[in-house]
């Protein structure tokens, strides 16, 4: 039984607050009858996940998360909700026929994952990070040295997705 510290450190308190925000955001996404509120909950979840990255001292990923997810993807989802005025005002139920089974499967997944993760003895680790500048330099050099093929393929994928999305959503009059 590992002994718990007497006072959780400030970083752990901040993590608990941020994790609460993220969890509440995820629940709002899933349980809200109004689709636009789900989109707002999704944006809150993205913020929370970015804050989780920052507590893990991966600042570059955290700021990229805000830039891409909150700035672009949330706006895109909100636009799509506005343009396809499906079920906004809670007149029809948000759940489909298999939602009961889905809820059971999701709960089961959560229990199994948590049990697995607590059972595996992870190696004791977590070296303090001394040089943040070198990490960002290494990140950049990894993109063009070791992972250059996925990087270029990613650029191609983004180009194809951009062209494809425009062609698909275009007015065909």
């Amino acid at each position: 039984m590992p002994e718990l510290p007497a006072l959780p450190s400030i970083l752990e308190l901040v993590f608990l607050a941020v994790a609460l925000l993220t969890a509440v955001g995820a629940l709002v996404v899933v349980l809200s009858p109004n689709l636009f509120h789900s989109a707002l909950g999704l944006a809150a979840t993205f913020f929370g996940v970015a804050a989780v990255y920052i507590t893990a001292e991966a600042e570059f990923v955290g700021v990229s998360q805000v830039l891409v997810y909150v700035g672009a993807i949330s706006t895109l989802i909100a636009f799509a909700i506005m343009l396809t005025r499906g079920m906004m005002y809670g007149t029809t139920s948000q759940r489909n026929r298999q939602s009961g089974t889905a809820a059971m499967i999701a709960a089961l997944m959560f229990v199994v994952l948590t049990a697995l993760m607590n059972a595996i003895p992870w190696p004791k680790a977590g070296e303090p990070i001394t040089d943040g500048e070198a990490i960002i330099a290494r990140l950049g050099s990894m993109f063009v040295n070791e992972y250059v093929v996925p990087f270029v393929l990613l650029a191609l994928l983004l180009l194809v997705a951009l062209a494809g999305a425009i062609v698909l959503a275009r007015d065909r009059k």
Binding site: L7, S9, I10, N34, F36, H37, L40, A43, E59, F60, V63, S64, V66, L67, V70, G71, A72, S74, T75, A78, F79, M82, G132, E133, I136
Partner: protein, 410 residues
């Protein structure tokens, strides 16, 4: 040299806090620092609104507010009191959560940019090693706020204005981000303090403080300035928020203090984008003798930022507005290819095996080439436009002079 948060933590320890509460004392010190910065920014907004009104009114050949306080300095306070006393109207079918959250979400990223602005050597909120990327990410949060405001007002004109604002902000974010990349590549780091230190000019052991990046990267500076005008929705790109438009944009259903928050966010955004321009291009606190007399650092910074802000208001009083399609085609067809070719040229030049000063000269040549190309494209485009729109009568005198207008039949 101890930082301010170290000094505050030390003071709290001496006041009798037990030593294991030292992280809590540090957290309180950070909180007090953030509180002071944010309050400073909100008080600064009062001065900014006064500067705007005076500069624009002098350009328009009138006096501006001069009744309340000497030279009208307390006019903004009177305006704020008026807005505070207004009734808080909420539309019935508006989406309440989004309606209330939108002004808050509009102000909050603007205030968060204060964390990485370098006022003086050693005087920065938090020296993030991704400082410039943090500023870019905050710009994209404001887009969500505008969309939420437009949608939740339950008003089709506000919704259309919200869509157009999102299109404008997203379109001009790309040239802004790429133009911010140019000084980052030149300085080799994203930390704002290091970029400020890299703009020193050493003549022997003395730092003249005039090695600003704008002398090497004028093209990037101009592209950043134009994109910042569009991101802050100032004239000539303020079709969607101007007071003289028929439906004043996505905040028409807001009254009282919520409208004041949008207004505040707009002015502070313009000021802080000017501050970022000063930090990246105009050498944030660098100037003659800034190293020896530490107080000159923030003085230079504030003078430069207010000059840039005055230039933004000067542009506001002088230029007419662009239409939304002219705005979008300017961003996508002119700015994005130019800034991409600029960054490409700079990258290639920086990697060539040539001595540094030849590299800097080549970068300057590339920048001037980009500026010349942009001017040529714009004049050709404007000539095309003016041929396209024929006027029903040609005025025969300049508006504003006292010369009489000849009759049309003459």
């Amino acid at each position: 040299m101890m930082t301010w948060s170290d000094i505050l933590t030390d003071v709290q320890m001496r006041l009798g806090a037990p030593p294991e509460l030292e992280p809590l004392a540090r957290a309180i010190a950070y909180f007090i620092g953030a509180f002071m910065l944010v309050n400073g920014a909100l008080v600064l907004a009062l001065i900014l609104i006064w500067v705007t009104r005076k500069v624009v009114s002098r350009i328009q050949d009138r006096i501006g507010p001069n009744r309340i306080g000497p030279y009208g300095l307390f006019q903004t306070v009177a305006d704020v009191l008026k807005l505070l006393s207004k009734e808080d109207i909420r539309p019935d079918n508006a989406d309440q959560i989004a309606y209330v959250l939108a002004p808050i979400l509009s102000v909050f990223p603007v205030l968060m940019t204060l964390a990485v602005i370098t006022f003086a050597p050693g005087f920065v909120g938090v020296d993030l090693n991704i400082g410039v990327l943090y500023l870019v990410a905050l710009g994209s949060i404001g887009i969500m706020a505008a969309l939420m405001a437009g949608w939740s007002s339950n008003n089709k004109y506000a919704l259309l204005a919200g869509f157009r604002v999102v299109a404008q902000l997203l379109a001009y974010e790309i040239p802004m981000v790429l133009a911010m990349l140019a000084p980052v590549m030149l300085a080799g780091t994203m930390r704002t303090q290091e970029i400020a230190r890299a703009q020193a000019l050493y003549l022997g052991p003395i730092n003249l403080g005039l090695g600003w990046f704008v002398f090497l990267l004028p093209g990037a500076f101009i592209i950043y300035f134009i994109s910042a005008l569009a991101e802050a929705e100032q004239t000539p790109f303020d079709l969607l928020e101007a007071e003289s438009e028929l439906i004043a944009g996505f905040h028409i259903e807001y009254s009282g203090m919520k409208f004041a928050m949008f207004f505040l966010a707009q002015f502070l955004n313009a000021f802080f984008l000017g501050a970022i321009a000063v930090m990246l291009f105009l050498g944030s606190w660098q100037g003659p003798f800034a190293d020896q007399i530490p107080l000159l650092g923030p003085f230079y910074f504030l003078v430069k930022t207010f000059l840039v802000y005055g230039a933004i208001q000067w542009v506001r009083g002088t230029f007419p507005r662009l239409r939304i399609d002219q705005m979008m085609s300017f961003a996508w067809k002119v700015l994005v290819p130019l800034v991409l070719s600029l960054i490409l040229a700079q990258m290639i030049i920086m990697k060539l095996p040539i001595p540094t000063w030849i590299g800097y000269l080549l970068i300057l040549v590339a920048n001037i080439g980009v500026v010349a190309l942009m001017l040529r494209l714009m004049t050709r485009y404007l000539k095309q436009e003016s041929v396209g729109t024929k006027r029903s009568f040609t005025p025969k005198s300049l508006i504003g002079t006292m010369a009489p207008v000849n009759q049309v039949g003459d």
